[in-house]
């Protein structure tokens, strides 16, 4: 199993980017009990049989790494949701895209910690490929925000330089911080 929930999240977002998706929408909601995530892309999609095989750790379609025998991203997530009492739903249509929704109980002592969400989002926004990514986030305190890659690129210029990434990190940290009643 991955070390933190953010690692699962990163894995699926990266799958979306690598599937050639032009648009990826991520919705993250958190309350005292549940962490819920939905990652929807318009990449190449999967058939019902491909979905089933994607959950098998000893299967990979071989396009990403020719000759390799394992594909662990989704099986890790399935293992986590199964063993922790969460849920995992995969909706996909060949040629249209894939939506992956998962939920993990934050009050289960075996649920991994959320991890570094800001760092994960900085990563998700700064892959080299051309894609649009929107992240809508509802924090446990009820506060919410939405960030898109195109508006970040417009404000920061190149997203791949160390300078931009440091500013992006500051920006997301300020959104993620608890601002108390004034912002409620």
């Amino acid at each position: 199993m991955h070390y933190s929930i953010c690692d699962f999240l990163m894995d699926i977002i990266q799958n979306g980017i690598e599937s050639g998706a032009g648009n990826i929408d991520v919705i993250l909601e958190e309350d005292a009990v549940w962490f819920s995530a939905l990652v929807q892309d318009d990449g190449r999609g999967m058939t019902a049989m491909q979905i089933e095989r994607a959950l098998d750790p000893f299967f990979t379609d071989g396009t990403k790494h020719p000759g390799r025998k394992v594909g662990l991203g989704l099986p890790f997530l399935k293992q986590a949701t199964d063993s922790l009492g969460g849920s995992l739903d995969i909706h996909s249509e060949k040629g249209k895209g894939t939506g992956i929704a998962f939920r993990l109980p934050m009050d289960n002592i075996d649920t991994p910690p959320l991890g570094d969400l800001v760092g994960t989002l900085v990563q998700a926004f700064t892959f080299i490929d051309a894609y649009e990514l929107s992240v809508s986030r509802k924090k446990p305190d009820g506060d919410a925000y939405r960030v898109t890659r195109s508006e970040l690129a417009e404000a920061l210029g190149e997203l791949d330089t160390v300078g931009s990434q440091s500013l992006l990190r500051n920006y997301l940290e300020s959104l993620e911080e608890n601002h108390g009643e004034n912002d409620a």
């Binding site: 991955h2 070390y3 690692d7 990163m10 894995d11 990266q14 690598e18 990403k64 790494h65 662990l72 991203g73 890790f76 570094d116 760092g119 994960t120 990563q123 700064t126 892959f127 080299i128 508006e151 970040l152 404000a155 920061l156 210029g157 190149e158 791949d160 330089t161 160390v162 300078g163 931009s164 990434q165 440091s166 500013l167 990190r169 500051n170 920006y171 940290e173 300020s174 959104l175 911080e177 601002h179 912002d183």
Partner: protein
């Protein structure tokens, strides 16, 4: 820290940019690529990425391009990092934790010297100590 807006971000970028332009901009062609496949992440590539960002920033190398790729194919040596510096051989480093990341910035990128013990691909073995 108060909640920032996109406008704040634009202004900050403006001020940082001017400060940056006063320094040497030759580091714009330097690229660091981190392998961020499942095995890379499991081996701690996130900490490596963070360490590169922190150290490059601390050294004032804000124009260096810091990128992520999927697996670089050397899963036994994760986290793996590819470094392109003009005038140096393109190099893939393996087993790069935060401490090694710092070393790569200081020795390879600033000192123009390969970091022994972590070179996993290119240049040929006889070039590396």
């Amino acid at each position: 820290m108060a909640k920032m807006t996109l406008d704040d971000l634009r202004k900050l970028r403006g001020t940082k940019k001017t400060a940056m332009e006063m320094r040497d901009t030759g580091n714009k062609t330097i690229q660091v690529i981190i392998g961020m496949g499942t095995s890379g992440i499991a081996a701690g590539a996130k900490a490596t990425l963070q360490a590169f960002g922190d150290e490059l920033l601390a050294q004032g190398l804000t124009e260096v391009s810091l990128r992520q790729a999927g697996s670089l194919g050397l899963d036994y040596a994760e986290p793996t990092v590819e470094v392109h510096v003009p005038g140096m051989p393109d190099t893939v480093y393996g087993k790069v934790d935060a401490a090694v990341a710092k070393l790569i910035v200081q020795k390879h990128i600033i000192g123009r010297e390969l970091v022994s013990g972590h070179v996993y691909d290119k240049p040929a073995k006889d070039i590396v100590k």
